[in-house]
C-alpha cells in the first residue's frame, strides 16, 4: 500500500504531465494559461507531499514557505499572461496560436 506522501507525489507528477500536454497541444491562449496553472499546482503538490512527515509529526516548513510565495507569484504571472492574451487578441483578432500543421 502506498503512503499518503507518495500518493500525493504521484498525483502532483500526473498534474504536471497533464498541464504540459495541454500547454503544448492546444492552441488557445486561455487554455495554455490554465495548463500553466495546473502544472504549477502539480509542482506545489510534489513539494508539499515531500514536506509531509506523517499525521503526528510536524511538517517541514521550508517547502511550505517556497510554495506560499510560489502561489502568489503564480497568480501575478497569470494576471500578466491574461492581459497579454487579451492584448494579442485585440491586435491579431484571434486568441489562438495557430501553426501551419494545426490547420
Amino acid at each position: 500500500m502506498i503512503g499518503t506522501s507518495t500518493l500525493y507525489t504521484l498525483a502532483g507528477i500526473l498534474l504536471f504531465g497533464m498541464g504540459l500536454y495541454a500547454l503544448i497541444a492546444y492552441p488557445h491562449l486561455l487554455r495554455k494559461i490554465l495548463a500553466l496553472n495546473v502544472m504549477g499546482v502539480g509542482i506545489f503538490m510534489v513539494l508539499i507531499s515531500i514536506a509531509y512527515q506523517g499525521p503526528t509529526q510536524r511538517a517541514d516548513p521550508v517547502p511550505h514557505a517556497l510554495v506560499i510565495t510560489g502561489i502568489v507569484v503564480a497568480v501575478c504571472a497569470t494576471g500578466l499572461a491574461l492581459t497579454l492574451a487579451t492584448r494579442i487578441q485585440a491586435l491579431t483578432g484571434s486568441a489562438r496560436l495557430e501553426t501551419d500543421e494545426e490547420a
Binding site: I13, G17, M18, L20, P61, I68, G79, T83
Partner: protein, 237 residues
C-alpha cells in the same frame, strides 16, 4: 458565409485528438512514467532543513516556522519576490493601455448592501491573518490574498470611482512592501551589521511591520492585476 459556418469557426477551442497531439501525449506519458519511477525510488532519509529551521525558531522572534523561513532565514528571497509582484504590475501597465474590466455600479441594493457589509469584514479578517501569522498559520501572503479579494470586490461593485488612471495613494501602496523591506534591510545593516538580521528583542515588531507593508502591497497588486490596465469610468457595452 453561412451562420452555421461562423458559429463553427467561432465556437470553441478545438481539442480533437489529432496525430501530432497523440505524439505529444505519448511523450508526456513517457515523462510522467520517468518522473514517477524517480519519485518511487527516491531515498527516504534525505537531509532535511526542517530540524535546523525548527531548532532556530526561538532566535527568530516568531513561533510560526513558515513565517520564520519567509522573513528570517530566506528574507532576501521574500524581498525579491515582493519586487517581482511590482514588476508584474509594470508589465501589465506597459502592455495594456486600457482596463479589461470597468467600474460597474451595483444595480441592485442587495449587492450594494452585501459589499458594504462584506468589505469591512474582509479587511478585519486580513488583519487577523497578519496578526496570526507570527505564531500560527497565517501571515502577509494570506492576508494580502484576502485584501486582493477586497480590491476585486471594490472594483466589481464600484465602491469608489477614481478618475482616469490610478490615484497616487494606490501607487504608494503598490510600492510600500518593497520600500519597507529595503528600508528595514538597510537600517538593520547599520544596526546589526547583517542584511535583514533582526535584533532578537525587536524581531517580532520589525517582522510585523515589514509583513504589514508587504500585505498591503500584495493586496493592491492583486486588485490592480484584476483591473488589468488603466481604469475607466462606466464604459459602453
Amino acid at each position: 458565409m453561412q451562420t452555421s459556418d461562423i458559429d463553427r469557426a467561432l465556437q470553441t477551442d478545438d481539442t480533437r485528438l489529432t496525430r501530432p497531439r497523440l505524439f505529444v501525449l505519448a511523450l508526456t506519458t513517457a515523462l510522467i512514467a520517468a518522473l514517477a519511477t524517480a519519485a518511487l525510488t527516491f531515498p527516504d532519509n534525505v537531509g532535511r532543513l526542517a530540524p535546523l529551521a525548527l531548532d532556530s525558531l526561538p532566535r527568530s522572534g516568531v513561533l510560526n516556522p513558515v513565517t520564520a523561513v519567509l522573513l528570517n532565514y530566506r528574507g532576501y528571497d521574500t524581498l525579491l519576490e515582493v519586487a517581482v509582484l511590482l514588476l508584474a504590475i509594470v508589465g501589465v501597465w506597459a502592455i495594456a493601455p486600457t482596463a479589461r474590466v470597468w467600474f460597474k455600479t451595483p444595480d441592485t441594493p442587495v449587492l450594494a448592501t452585501f459589499v458594504r457589509l462584506l468589505l469591512p469584514l474582509m479587511i478585519v479578517v486580513a488583519g487577523y491573518m497578519l496578526w496570526l501569522g507570527a505564531d500560527e498559520p497565517g501571515g502577509a501572503f494570506q492576508g494580502g490574498a484576502v485584501l486582493g479579494g477586497v480590491g476585486v470586490l471594490w472594483v466589481a461593485a464600484a465602491v469608489w470611482l477614481p478618475r482616469r488612471g490610478h490615484p497616487f495613494w494606490l501607487r504608494l501602496l503598490l510600492g510600500a512592501g518593497v520600500a519597507a523591506f529595503v528600508i528595514a534591510a538597510v537600517g538593520l545593516l547599520f544596526l546589526t551589521g547583517g542584511l535583514l538580521q533582526y535584533p532578537p528583542e525587536q524581531a517580532k515588531t520589525v517582522i510585523l511591520v515589514i509583513e504589514g507593508a508587504a500585505m498591503f502591497s500584495i493586496g493592491a497588486t492583486l486588485a490592480v492585476l484584476f483591473i488589468g490596465g488603466y481604469p475607466r469610468r462606466e464604459e459602453e457595452k
